[in-house]
Symmetry: C2
Subunit: 337 residues, 2 copies
């Protein structure tokens, strides 16, 4: 076995949209396992919009990655060796092992996964935090009812594509907003969204929403913020619920932008906007995962993963995802299962 562990570290705090040079590929000695620990070889790494926040030292809900520190991230891996009673060599595990080829763990916040129950990579997509985010952010925050109109921004992304399909399962009219004609086609033809539009070619968002949501908008699942969200707010119905999952349009601005004041709309429409992180629902992950797995098995939820190979390409995969290049879940394949 190799004695070297390769890692991607944060080389510089990005200004605006991150660059490849904000990351560094480093080689460190393989960590030494102690009693109560096990060593994991990382197989898949998830790259997600929230990671942009961790690269910044602006105040947020979690501490930033230190300069020179290993980038954090959700992964699936395989136990190589173990001095931990609950984990055996060969076990597949899901945990926050970060942007590296190997990681030590004490087993805390690590979940064993069954590679026969579902494809391994789905533990980072529809059956992982991505799917759980969609599940709780839509169902718990917004409580969508049959025949209500649900709008999803970032609709072809990992979370958005699942949100829309859950809303369809709940009997809603579902309208997606995405950044390419190919994505719009995917949403309406593959995932059975009722309608979708490309925000890069449509110029009058509010007019488009008026056309596609003739009965107004009851639920808005927001991944993007900015001008798209401003337009959606102007079309929400009385008693609307807005789930704020992400604000990706704002993450790469060199300085914060101003926008219309949206609280007046919440007041006039008796509506709520609720920011959430999936972690607040941790006690109910099993319930949600079982339901998601059932929907996947029965074909009610389709999912899609895109892979880029090799740890050195993780920054490229991240930047590709951040620019909206992916359809569904963007993963990095670090090693063979």
């Amino acid at each position: 076995m190799t004695t070297v562990n390769r890692q991607i570290t944060l080389a510089a705090r990005p200004v605006g949209f991150p660059k490849a040079s904000d990351f560094a590929l480093v080689e460190t000695p393989m960590p030494t396992q102690e009693a109560g620990q096990f060593l994991v070889r990382v197989v898949y790494l998830s790259v997600d919009p929230y990671m942009r926040g961790r690269m910044s030292d602006a105040p947020s809900y979690a501490a930033p990655v230190a300069i020179g520190g290993v980038m954090g991230g959700g992964t699936v891996g395989r136990v190589v060796s173990s001095q931990h009673a609950d984990f055996q060599p060969g076990d597949f595990v899901e945990g926050m092992f970060g942007w590296q080829e190997y990681a030590l763990s004490d087993g805390k916040m690590v979940r064993k996964v069954d590679p026969l129950a579902a494809p391994l990579e789905t533990n980072l997509s529809v059956l992982g935090l991505t799917g759980l985010t969609a599940y709780f952010g839509l169902l718990d925050i917004c409580d969508p009812k049959p025949d209500e109109t649900v709008v999803v921004s970032g609709a072809a992304g990992a979370v958005g594509s699942i949100v829309g399909q859950i809303a369809k399962i709940k009997g809603c009219r579902v309208v997606g907003i995405a950044g390419s004609d190919m994505k719009v086609d995917y949403l309406t033809n593959e995932l059975n969204f009722d309608a979708a539009f490309n925000y890069k070619t449509v110029t009058q968002y509010e007019d488009e929403l008026k056309k596609l949501c003739p009965k107004g908008i009851d639920v808005y699942f927001d991944n993007v913020g900015g001008a798209i969200t401003d337009a959606v707010f102007r079309r929400i119905n009385p008693m609307a619920r807005v789930s704020i999952c992400g604000q990706i349009s704002q993450y790469n601005l060199a300085k914060p932008e101003a926008g219309p004041r949206l609280l007046s709309i919440l007041l006039m429409r008796q509506a709520k906007a609720h920011g959430f992180l999936v972690f607040q629902f941790a006690a109910r992950y099993d319930e949600a995962r079982a339901q998601l797995a059932e929907w996947v098995r029965s074909g009610k939820i389709k999912h899609r993963e895109e892979f880029i190979n090799g740890l050195p390409n993780a920054p490229r995969a991240f930047l590709h995802m951040l620019a909206g290049g992916n359809l569904g879940k963007q993963l990095v394949k670090i090693s063979e299962p």
Copy 2:
């Protein structure tokens, strides 16, 4: 009895802050009562910030007052004559009889009030929609817990002053924001707020909030919006709840102002902002009114009403309130009880 009914009508849609000339005092014939109706002589008229919205034809939750139409408003009055089985001459009633000396009613949305149970005017303040707004907007929207920090803007106004006192009853640390040193004194010395500041003399709102709310802000009851609210948002804690009751800073702008984007803060803090109108809680008014009356009787809630006499002075009372000139509830006394 007089054969003339005096009314205040909307003469012009205001641009920016309303002027006296936006209103007109008109004389009309006393309305003719028919079967199933009764005639009310208005005693007290409530003037409230929401009325500014009705003067505008911008989209809102309620239709605007027509040019030439009588200004709407909550009132207490006395039945003069009746052909309605449930209402007798001499009865005191609360209803939306508007800015006029007399009104016909069919009894719908009218509540009989007992002038011996509580001072008549309190049916428009602490025991009226004002108190109910404070009660539901704080307790139902924000669910404040003991030792949490509650910030109230527009704190010396009719709703804000009750909100703060209910929060004190619930064991919270309560910080008020108001527009004069006299109001700040009233809040801290009369109403037992833990702290308050004058937003017209304090220039660094966020620093002041940091000082007065050392453990951050768990609940924000917002009557004003704008720069004050921007500062409060920057100090909210994880899982904070924001009740959006009013946005008075925005009502008189000739054109909407831009502001910092607040949804990112809701996301980072896993917080919610919820706009509401008291009417959505109509099924529970009796429960709330009984509780408010008990708090008033036991001295836990103090309330204060200011009166301006005579229907012709109703516009002046409204403009005075809109400019923040009042402490507690601003009423117009239209006639003797």
